[in-house]
Symmetry: C2
Subunit: 250 residues, 2 copies
Amino acid sequence: MLELLNQHRTIRKYTDQKIAPELLTELLEMACKTSNTGNMQAYSIVVTTDTEIKKQLSPAHFNQPMITQAPVVLTFCADFNRFTKWCLLRQADPGYDNFQSFMATAIDALLAAQTFCIAAESVGLGICYLGTTTYNAGEIIEALKLPELVVPITTITVGYPDGIPEQTDRLPLEAVVHYETYKDFTSEAINNIYSEKENSDFYKQFIKENDKKTLAQVFTDIRYSRKNNEFFSDKYLKVLKEQGFLNQEH
Amino acid sequence: MLELLNQHRTIRKYTDQKIAPELLTELLEMACKTSNTGNMQAYSIVVTTDTEIKKQLSPAHFNQPMITQAPVVLTFCADFNRFTKWCLLRQADPGYDNFQSFMATAIDALLAAQTFCIAAESVGLGICYLGTTTYNAGEIIEALKLPELVVPITTITVGYPDGIPEQTDRLPLEAVVHYETYKDFTSEAINNIYSEKENSDFYKQFIKENDKKTLAQVFTDIRYSRKNNEFFSDKYLKVLKEQGFLNQEH
């Protein structure tokens, strides 16, 4: 089991093999066993296999080929729609049109997503997370017809792996883990943490290909630039407002 | 493996048995293998075992006994502090003081948290998620000395289970899963989805004990009220701003 987690790789290429519907259902059942806030199960999973709907989703994910190539695309959503509808039918006043409720349901959606991934990997499937979900949530809402109080948080493409890629490197544990309280980083600590990565031939080549001086610049200038982050921040906050999760500001 | 996920229970009571440091390290290593945005590994995990610091954390979690009783408390944090410091040392302009970056790191922290939980359960440990983390993030920041661009997202208490509680019920899968696109719920569909829960003796007793007319009212009036949700929304948004994740609004 630990070995399975230790071997995790993102799979971006899939064979033509379909996922049996019974297996998919079983994996979704496992995902829904995950811990969630107050057992409200306030999140939703949209399962897309239809070629036409995958095509409609594709531009929202910047046409990354996994969307149309994977047999199954799962969109995990923050969702207080069902719970709110239930409350309204039961003489109860639902107060879930706010940021705290958004966080609770987003957390639940993500924990379920990761259980799904581990379950899928345990039966030989491969997965890929698409971070583009929070960039173009409005376009996904349109394609999947998501109602008010439903906002996409992450997307997973799933299928049988066509080849097993190299495992991605990780920073030493002390980059992520702090004991007792947070120990902030000196410049020396930062240099130590990043030295292996920065000295690897793989990343030296990567910096060169991107025509940058440092690896950090590849991130700040190309992959996750301030300009893009700010643009997509405004866009996502606008979606949260439109879908009714920021009503407390009124 | 699927059986492990299927048997998931939240464990709120722990034996006195400590978790061996080597085992804890191994579980944290597994958590850090989880998929993350651009392999930036922009999140952090604060591991608290010290009695005094657990006591300082306790009020932030409304003194739920798990915090002081569990041998290990893990606080998973959105964290662009380390990455930003690295960029500044490498002639790169870090643009991560915005909501989109907060979402990316929060997502990564949560996926890692769930991998940790499954890894822990696979070796016989029990876990409990504390949703209070987003209620009293400011108090947690103080107790754990979290710097700018670090915000707690969720907390897990971990230890060896003192007894195995009943498994919590779940709604039928159609409450959570939609096929191809979202199918919004009619009143009849809502009634069907909730009928088993509402007709169980357990929840009938629960409604009675809470002196309410419907199960939904226990949630809206007592457990997750509009007033509290709005209060804690303002509080968490204020923390995001103070920690530097909403700078694009300036």
